[in-house]
Amino acid sequence: MLSKRIIACLDVRDGQVVKGINFEGLRSAGDPAELARRYNVEGIDELVILDITATLERRRALADTIRRVARELFIPLAVGGGIRSEDDAAAAVEAGADKVSLNTAALSNPSLVTTLARRYGSQAVVVAIDAKHAGNGFAVYARSGQAAADRDAVEWAREAEDRGAGEILLTSIDRDGTKVGFDCVMNAAVSSAVSIPVIASGGAGALDHFVDVFTEGRADAALAASIFHYAETSVRSLKEHLQQHGIPVRLS
């Protein structure tokens, strides 16, 4: 049976892992390669490097970070943040990324999703959606949660799938960094609307939050950052907890 994946996110700025609350107030959490190594030993299923302040001059620094993290890891590695063009994606892939995650660029230029899916295959293209509750729907935001995109998350996820995305990474802006639990309602709505996997993100603070998102939230994978960085929870103890609750995981 297909395991539910646990994905660790490394929010990287200037080569260091940082983490904020509600997309603001960053604090440092260490060296990305060192954290990646620790997670790998603990049995993480996948890693995401998110360059949260990607600018042109930092592109080279990001490639170095990817290379350093990818060097000794033989699990899937996704990279996001500031990927605006086919060239940006190619640089990430050449440095060792298996998947690129598009957010703002996919909203402003949806054909980029198709271009990258044709070049690298759909399995290499993740569309990241940042959204929050708005009325009966879920409003999508661009530019790290700062700009309303005038799209609904369910409708945008469907379009992304049609355009060739292989996975959706759905982050709840309301829950990000709060540790009160994933937004299961939003995740279930998106996951039911598409046939590609949906990775739930934002709000992980306790082991039972993961149980909830894999059951009522209908998530295929769950992503967390701070819960792992500060060693509050080891990946292994999380997976053992999930297994005890009947959720299929990879325990090695």
Partner: protein
Amino acid sequence: MRIALIDYRAGNLTSVKKAFAAIGADLFVPLQPGELADAGAVVVPGVGHFGATETLAVDWTDTIRRGIDAGRPLLGICLGMQWLYEGSAEAPGLKGLGLLSGQCYRLPGGSGATSVKIPHVGWNALDIQRPDSIVEGVASGSQVYFTHSFVAPITDETVAVTVHGQPFAAVVQRGRVAAVQFHPEKSGEVGLTILRNFLRLAES
């Protein structure tokens, strides 16, 4: 011994190169079929659409087939495994190598409570049916990383199956030709063990 990694311009070879480098293999990417003469073994990787193998059909097929006939080891990965069969429903009319019998087909997603998502993405277990050298040291139940929608049929040569809605061929081996539907280069220690097994097969 040098191992040729076939690049038919479908996707990204970085991860495969990195994993083979990590186990000490000497990998090169031939630019034309003639360069295969220097190879002691061949790896056919692949992601994406079966249609991408058309490049192979035109340029490489005869050379690769002659190598196999002469006992040169080959490892097919993902789409590279599917290409070893007669063809695929993903690109009707386009022939595979035809070394293994059967047609590849799309995994059914099913419906209702028993439905599964297609593509099949993530870690899933190998159920070893017929131990062979490619899975030496790999325990049945070990998990490996998949990302695909199409699969190869289960035959007598199937070494391991995986279940996603229904069982499909995850590992196949016939003599010195082996293939895996998952990505050993992305499957942690289990994946590296399988690549080492292929290296040993190639050096034997």
